[in-house]
């Protein structure tokens, strides 16, 4: 069986096991269906009415603009707010907060409990299927330098490399460390490091590219996807072939049982003849090739447009585009100054929402809940929602314009299910839920539970009308508390799957 299929099958099996486990739990939850309701005895002790039901407060006013802008920054530059984060950004202001994001001091700290699987075991990110995904998701949840993780995610998408072909989680994690080390540094250093990165050399056949048997894979994609862009007139098919010759010379040894080893540059594998790239002729090698790419007049605009697109859904105006390109070139291909300018730009705070990538959505759920990685479910849930780290669909990365469809929406809903499961209000066991809670209080409590997110007026109103109509008109006294517990669980789920939470 090809390894891809085997992995898919394992994943499916894993998913099925989890689904079965959940369904088992579901089936064994008491009093589950209407027909049973009528045969099951009411509780021996009817729930005691609360002595003094609180008067129903009004829905709290929606958060103000400062609060909403802080939320916006925390989602776009990181992975959403932890409790207290929004207040911090509000108190220091956007510019100071951006500076903290872009220029953090010292090395990153991971705050909170170490990641574990559902059996309490430490992760094995280099070995166990899906644990690479969990390992990185944990950094997204716990790092006190979230922008470094977000930029690493952006460049994982930009230089999309898939373990589907690389076949080594260790090599993928090494590449991940390389990206992280350069993610806010110089794009030239990043490109140089990734061109000779073992995972990349396997992924785009750099080690298959040698004098006399040129493999164009990296030569093409480095132009089309990494530095210049297709269909802009930046290069010709002839440039692809000539650049591929310049890039030739890398090698590695295949060792049965341990895979690719001993990555190196072998001068005699390099095509040392003369090449003509972008109209310039010379005996170019791979470093010359990268220089030619960065000096190409189409590079700076490609870099700025692509980077901007990760943060803001509408293109920059001409003046902004030009200023950012200048900033980029003048700083010697500096990534941080451009990111800083984008994060401070008014367009980032405009009305237009961005759909959160699935792992950002997932990390944000856990940050909001103050929960660490305590189950391996997040890896196959990432699959269902359309994003499994280290397994982008192809070399152009994930398509940010198509995150949501009926299938991936359901995957996100499952993520919410798994995120809320440990803290859900059990309608039948545990302490009685407030049997007198009115609809408005129910919505207010669900909003507090979900971190007080900014929701649109129409969404808030629809939640309130759901809360007011979802319970039967007449309820027996023993139904008052459990049905309200169900309503509270449903409201939390509806908030976190709403378009306002999925896209902001």
């Amino acid at each position: 069986m090809p390894p891809t299929l085997l992995k898919k099958r394992l994943r499916r099996k894993h998913h099925r096991q989890h689904a079965r486990r959940l369904r088992h739990a579901r089936r064994h939850r008491p009093r589950h269906q209407d027909e049973q309701v009528f045969v099951i005895e009411p509780p021996a002790q009817p729930p005691k009415p609360k002595p003094k039901p609180k008067p129903p407060p009004k829905l709290p006013p929606p958060p103000d603009t400062t609060h909403r802008n802080a939320e916006r920054l925390l989602w776009r530059a990181g992975f959403g707010p932890r409790p207290g984060d929004v207040d911090h950004v509000v108190s220091v202001g956007i510019d100071a907060a951006v500076h903290e994001f872009v220029y953090p001091t010292g090395t990153a700290n991971l705050i909170g409990p170490e990641p574990r699987d559902e059996d309490g075991n430490a992760l094995a990110p280099e070995d166990a299927w899906g644990h690479d995904h969990l390992w990185w998701l944990d950094r997204m949840v716990r790092s006190d330098q979230p922008l470094a993780e977000r930029m690493t995610l952006i460049f994982h998408d930009w230089f999309a490399t898939s373990n589907d072909k690389v076949g080594s989680q260790r090599m993928m994690l090494d590449q991940n460390a390389t990206i992280r080390a350069n993610a806010l540094g110089s794009f030239k250093d990043l490109l140089t490091a990734l061109t000779q990165d073992p995972a990349m050399l396997v992924w785009l056949d750099g080690i298959e590219n040698r004098a006399g048997d040129v493999n164009e894979n990296y030569g093409r994609e480095v132009m089309e996807l990494f530095t210049l862009g297709a269909d802009r007139g930046a290069y010709t098919e002839q440039d692809v072939r000539e650049l591929a010759r310049a890039l030739s010379g890398f090698d590695a040894d295949w060792v049965d049982g341990s895979g690719w080893q001993n990555f190196r540059y072998v001068p005699r594998r390099h095509d040392s003849g003369s090449k003509t790239v972008f109209g310039q002729t010379g005996n170019f090698d791979w470093q010359d090739a990268l220089r030619l790419l960065l000096e190409n007049l189409y590079h700076a605009s490609f870099f700025v447009t692509k980077l901007w697109g990760y943060f803001i859904p509408t293109p920059p105006d001409g003046a902004t585009q030009a200023a950012l390109q200048k900033l980029y070139v003048d700083s010697g291909y500096g990534i941080a100054p451009v990111v800083e300018a984008i994060l401070k730009h008014p367009d980032l705070y405009a009305d237009r929402a961005l759909v959160k990538p699935p792992v950002v959505f997932n990390a944000g759920l856990l940050r909001m809940l103050g929960r660490g990685i305590d189950t391996s479910a997040w890896s196959w849930l990432g699959d269902m929602a359309g994003q499994h780290l280290f397994l982008p669909p192809n070399v152009s990365g994930w398509d940010d314009s198509t995150w949501l469809d009926t299938s991936t929406w359901r995957g996100r809903s499952m993520m919410v299910t798994y995120a809320l499961e440990p803290k859900h209000v059990d309608p039948w066991n545990g302490p009685d839920y407030d049997p007198a809670e009115d609809a408005v209080t129910a919505v207010s409590r669900a909003l507090v539970f979900t971190g007080g997110p900014t929701l649109s007026t129409e969404t808030r109103n629809t939640l309130a009308s759901f809360a007011g109509s979802c319970l039967p008109g007449a309820m027996a006294s023993w139904q008052q508390s459990p049905y309200r517990a169900m309503r509270q669980n449903a409201l939390r789920h509806l908030i976190l799957t709403s378009s306002d939470w999925q896209a902001s």
Partner: protein
Amino acid sequence: MRNAAAEAGRGLPSVEPGMPTPAGTGLSRRSFLERSAGMALAVYGANRLGLGALREGVAAAASGAPQRVLVSIFLPGGCDGMSVLAPVGDTRYAQLRPTLAIPPSTGTPFAPDARLRWSDPAGGLSTLHGEGKVTVFPAIGYDHPDQSHFTSRHFWEVGATDAHARYGWLGRYLDAAGADDNPLQGLSLDSDLSPALAPARVPVAAVERPEDFDFWVPGVDDPVKEPMLEAFGDLGRLATSDPVKAGARKVATEVDTVRRQLAPFATPDGNPSYNSPVTYPDSDFARRLAALGAMLAAGLPLHCVTINSDGGFDTHSGQADSLPGDVKGTCDAVLTFQRDLEARGLADRVLVVLWSEFGRRPENGSGTDHGAAGTAFVIGAKSSGQMIGEFPGLATLDDDDNLRATSDFRAMYCSLLEQWLGFDSAAVIPGASSFDRPTLVKS
């Protein structure tokens, strides 16, 4: 959308005798409706909303005459056509492919052109071709071929050599000819939507497996669960001026509709509630085709369906190790799907188109680089079984040493639209009048 579905429900002669029977399924429309109702009740319990909600979903499934179905199967990565139909009789073939050439002693003959042979892994297609059920494009592509996966695939997906087109060719067709309230008219049986189906206007859906489309929310059961599921749709139907949020909300409404439509395909435990009259190979791709056969047999209103084949066809290296298995997996599953349709009496209603974004370079190392013309196949009982365009031979390649195209993918699309879907291709494919109309469908 809710209103539209309710309208359709009112127009439905719900479980009256004498409704047309989906041919060969052994399951009349009436018994399907009854069975659906029974299962959905088992799923949701006899609460005050379950039955009404169910009726909307089934309404859409059962109203109107069954439509023809086009199934688009994509081989991602650029499948090496010369490993499917091997030009063993071309003198340059063995020269250009010292290690990857398929030996002339293997495979089966290809009657329309003695230079070509079906490779062994493509045996499934060879069998169907022998029965006159495969129309073959031995060298399909377009002028000025683009060798980027993404650009070339995009061209095929949008049905135009336009890098900036936003909607898929099937999405545009559905925008023009489809319904406002039926997401299943355009269905990707995949974890996400195929760009070929991307519409500007009408709803479409992506579902990996029909039996999986359930929602479990901890601590939410009857009587709150059904209203909560309805609220997914209510929240989706809210108006907003932000196009991104509007897009997210539209998906929520589609989730709401698809959930109702697919409820009959799962047992309460989330297992498939359907069977196949034939035995499919053991693969994800084959399982999805099996599910498709069952959905068609049940009368769900599918019209344009996309599926990606398993396997990676971007064989720059190690082609001999991976490609034969991937070709065989695809071709065997397609053969089984055809047998499934025949057993269910649905074969006259379904046409499959099998394509890849380009072929691969004739010259090779341990693998092959991106090429130009590739192969495509139109498969089904109603397929004309002809060869469209000739194999151009390896003696004269294009300027980039790639196979020259002798047919255009847009001509194939125009013919599929006109001859199979009965729709004017000029409204869908830019420059439609400039392309041939190869005969793809038996008259």
